[in-house]
């Protein structure tokens, strides 16, 4: 039995035979991804589990295959995620839950999970570096290896699973300061569409860091090095000339 939820058309409880593939669950029973978006991952086992990806679509699902894939059956929760879900944010979301639920008795879970969460927050704010990813991985392994109870021992699973399966997203957040799912607001990239921009200069005049340059009645340009992603230009533009991605 699974509780099928998330970005899927048919949410609800499903009872299926062991060994059914993920593809069948999502596209046949689930009715496919909501709004016709692209499938990205399925999280099973909640905050203690890991994710299955496109690569696992044809894997038969049972207790062992889930463990082998770095996840677990858990309580049967199956959350479907699409291209608009940022996997780094998902990992952070699960860690927030863990930090709240941690009983606080043992050092690795009490302090370690908090520190992992801080690293993820740093990355999502666009301030991460590659060294942070190394620390994150080491912390995850040590917390998994030394925690007193199952909560701490499985809390690094989402981090390890997303690092394993979606490493490119982490690297993009760190090196390019980009979130391709467009979920992380601090990494949103603002650009001006030169075909639409009328050169009214409202955006340039309101930019708090003077990141926008341009002549009157000429298309304007946002300097990405200076831009702080505050979104004021986007709010002020009357012509919808600002693209957010």
């Amino acid at each position: 039995m699974f509780a099928l939820a998330g970005k899927i058309n048919n949410v609800g409880l499903i009872e299926v035979p062991m060994g059914i593939t993920l593809r069948e669950i999502i596209y046949e029973i689930g009715g496919g991804i909501k709004n016709g978006k692209k499938f990205k991952a399925v999280q099973t086992g909640g905050p203690s589990g890991g994710c299955l990806t496109e690569a696992h679509l044809d894997t038969p699902i049972d207790f062992d295959s889930l463990l082998a894939a770095g996840s677990m059956m858990g309580s049967g929760g199956m959350i479907v995620m699409d291209e608009d879900d940022c996997m780094v944010s998902i990992a952070k979301f699960y860690l927030e839950f863990i930090v709240e639920e941690s009983c606080g008795k043992c050092t690795p879970c009490r302090i370690g999970n908090k520190r992992m969460l801080e690293i993820l927050e740093k990355i999502i704010q666009g301030k991460g570096n590659m060294e942070d990813l190394d620390h994150l991985r080491n912390l995850a392994y040590v917390i998994k290896d030394t925690s007193l109870c199952g909560l701490g021992q499985s809390s690094p699973n989402p981090v390890l699973s997303t690092l394993e399966n979606f490493y490119d997203e982490y690297v993009a957040h760190v090196k390019e300061k980009r979130c391709f799912a467009k979920q992380c607001k601090a990494l949103a990239r603002y650009t001006i569409n030169p075909d639409v921009c009328t050169g009214c200069t409202i955006c340039a005049r309101n930019c708090p860091v003077d990141a926008i340059t341009g002549e009157k009645r000429e298309p304007h340009f946002i300097n990405q090095e200076i831009c702080i992603h505050c979104g004021v230009c986007y709010q002020k533009c009357k012509f919808n000339a600002i693209i957010v991605e």
């Binding site: 930090v99 709240e100 639920e101 941690s102 009983c103 606080g104 008795k105 043992c106 050092t107 690795p108 009490r110 302090i111 370690g112 908090k114 520190r115 801080e118 690293i119 927050e121 740093k122 942070d132 620390h135 080491n138 912390l139 040590v142 998994k144 290896d145 030394t146 925690s147 007193l148 021992q153």
Partner: protein, 587 residues
């Protein structure tokens, strides 16, 4: 006895079934680092919450690392305490602890004695990899007359909670909150002074970091010594001389009385006196009181209450006032030796020396934290001027000596000043459990029977068992005595008395394990009970070597009564040397 065989770091060990890996390693001479583990063998208390995860070791074949303190040895296992995996885990765990710890080692009172600091040094940690402005679990600081709480430095080992609840049964502390902000605190995170805390200081004695520390009066004392207008007098408790040497490298159990006196004189104290003198005085007053009550009781007086309880331990008095407010007329009304000394020093002594009360500063050196609290109680002040101005601990005295650049080991032995420096052996044994009542017995016997006491040593009153009982033969009349040390044992005795279960005539209670020698202000022994036994032996040895061994034979005491007090329980004695108790039932 069933045994198991295992290998630890390539060493073969055979241990009884049920032994933990940490204990087995210790036997094999391997020291696995730990932090939250605390063993108090003299109290049969092994605290192993397995929460710090510093002692994790690798057992090949097992999924995760295991905590050595809480994992039993099983036959045939291989344990690796320093595999790369274990070392990396241990380092990361200590780094995590450091990441949530204030970085003020340089000015922390526990610097040099801190177990976390030792771990960081041993593991060679040079950087802490947390983000800028990483969250820290911080709390309001809490001060009391005796001890300070700085919970930012708490590592959640919960040793303090265990001693406060399981051993002292005071129940002032508990783990509260959840997750990152969990901490050990009194109810509602109120201040210690509003909680049932008795200031016994045992929590300070077991805290591995600077979270719980004693109040430091060192600089108050230095300022007093530096003030030419002040006449500074010092008194030293018996338990101090049996342990002070440990701070200078002497083996535990070395009595350093002579050097201690020399050091104090060298520091500039105008008079160096002995609390043991006041202990003899306490026996005069308390012994007379004891006899008075027993005689009236044996003569059928229904109004008199027995047993009489000793009252020289302020933590015990606090405990009593909080938990047994219905029995406030049961303890002796005699003040503690510290306070009796202060009262006499600022009256009798001040007069003799021609010093005004307000110009005299009385400092006491105590093994105890509760004494810091005791000396500022209102009933021990005269028009706001306290009988005892500052109480410092054995550790603080050692520190003073080091600040004064005094080479303790090469000091020539000196003797106390007179007239408040002479003491009998009975005064010395106040420092150990059973000592007060033994001292009282020596005097009470002669006063009661009118006969001379030949055998001065009462071995049946001595020992480390938590509760001891004995019946002493007072020439035909048997006096029943009960003795308890640690407040948990005190509670057992008191609950029994309340229910009318016992027929004791007198009971001695000391809050600290072993008596004052195990006080919260003594050099930290970190659970090494051999140290306590050694200190105890030193005290009895000093008593044995004294010529005068009974309080009432102390010539200076006799002189004091002749010149000043009259007789025990006289009006003057009552005013200066006795007190009464207050009910403050706190939960």
């Amino acid at each position: 006895m069933e045994t198991v065989k295992l290998t630890i770091d390539n060493r073969h060990v055979e241990v009884p079934k049920g032994t933990t890996i940490l204990q087995a390693a210790h036997q094999a001479g391997i020291n696995i680092p730990s932090l939250c583990y605390m063993n108090l063998p003299h109290l049969a208390q092994e605290h192993k919450p397995g929460s710090c995860r510093v002692c994790v070791v690798e057992i090949p074949g097992r999924k995760n690392l295991v905590p050595a303190c809480a994992t039993e040895c099983t036959d045939g296992i291989t344990v690796l305490s320093h595999s790369l995996r274990a070392i990396n885990a241990r380092r990361t765990v200590v780094e995590l602890l450091l990441s949530d710890h204030p970085k003020d080692c340089l000015i922390c009172p526990s610097s040099g004695n801190c177990e976390l600091q030792k771990l960081s040094i041993t593991m060679g940690i040079r950087e802490i990899n947390s983000v800028e402005n990483a969250a820290m679990s911080t709390y309001r600081k809490d001060a009391s007359p005796a001890l300070n709480r700085n919970m930012d430095k708490c590592v959640m080992c919960r040793s303090c909670e265990t001693v406060c609840n399981e051993i002292q049964t005071v129940g002032a502390l508990s783990a509260v909150n959840r997750g990152f902000m969990s901490v050990v605190a009194p109810a509602f995170e109120q201040e210690l002074t509003d909680s049932p805390c008795t200031f016994c200081g045992q929590c300070v004695a077991v805290c591995p970091t600077g979270a719980l520390t004693a109040v430091d009066n060192t600089f108050h004392v230095i300022r007093a010594l530096a003030d030419s207008n002040k006449f500074v007098v010092v008194q030293t408790a018996p338990a101090v001389r049996a342990a002070l040497g440990e701070e200078f490298g002497y083996p535990p159990g070395t009595s350093v009385t002579g050097k201690m006196v020399a050091a104090l004189r060298s520091l500039g104290f105008d008079k160096v006196f002995d609390t043991d003198f006041a202990a003899d005085l306490t026996i005069m007053e308390e012994g007379t009181e004891l006899l008075d009550r027993i005689t009236r009781f044996l003569n059928g007086d229904k109004n008199v209450r027995l047993p009489i309880l000793t009252s020289c331990c302020p933590a015990w008095v606090n405990f009593f006032e909080t938990n047994y407010p219905d029995m406030l007329d049961v303890p002796s009304t005699a003040r503690s030796p510290q306070q009796m000394f202060g009262a006499i020093a600022k009256t009798y002594m001040a007069e003799k020396l021609g010093v005004k009360r307000e110009d005299m500063v009385v400092v006491s050196v105590m093994p105890c934290l509760a004494k810091k609290y005791e000396c500022q109680r209102d009933e021990f002040k005269v028009d706001g001027n306290p009988d005892v101005d500052y109480a410092i601990t054995t550790r603080e005295l050692a520190h003073l000596i080091k600040i004064g650049n005094i080479d303790f080991k090469t000091l020539k032995e000196e003797d106390f000043d007179r007239p408040m420096g002479e003491s009998s052996g009975a005064g010395v044994i106040f420092g150990v459990t059973g000592g007060v009542i033994e001292a009282a017995t020596r005097t009470a016997y002669e006063l009661f029977t009118g006969k001379k006491l030949e055998k001065v040593d009462f071995h049946e009153l001595r020992g480390m068992e938590g509760i001891r009982t004995a019946s002493v033969n007072f020439d035909g009349t048997y006096i029943h005595i009960g003795i308890a040390h640690t407040l948990g044992n005190a509670r057992k005795l008191l609950d029994g008395i309340r229910k009318g279960m016992y027929n004791f005539h007198a009971i001695e209670i000391m809050a600290c394990p072993g008596g004052c020698i195990g006080g919260g202000g003594q050099p930290l022994h970190r659970g090494n009970s051999i140290v306590l036994k050694a200190r105890m032996d030193a005290i009895y040895k000093e008593d044995f070597n004294k010529t005068i061994r009974k309080s009432h034979e102390n010539p200076e005491i006799i002189q004091l009564y002749e010149e000043f007090l009259g007789k025990p329980l006289s009006e003057k004695s009552h005013k200066l040397l006795h007190t009464h108790y207050f009910s403050h039932p706190k939960q």
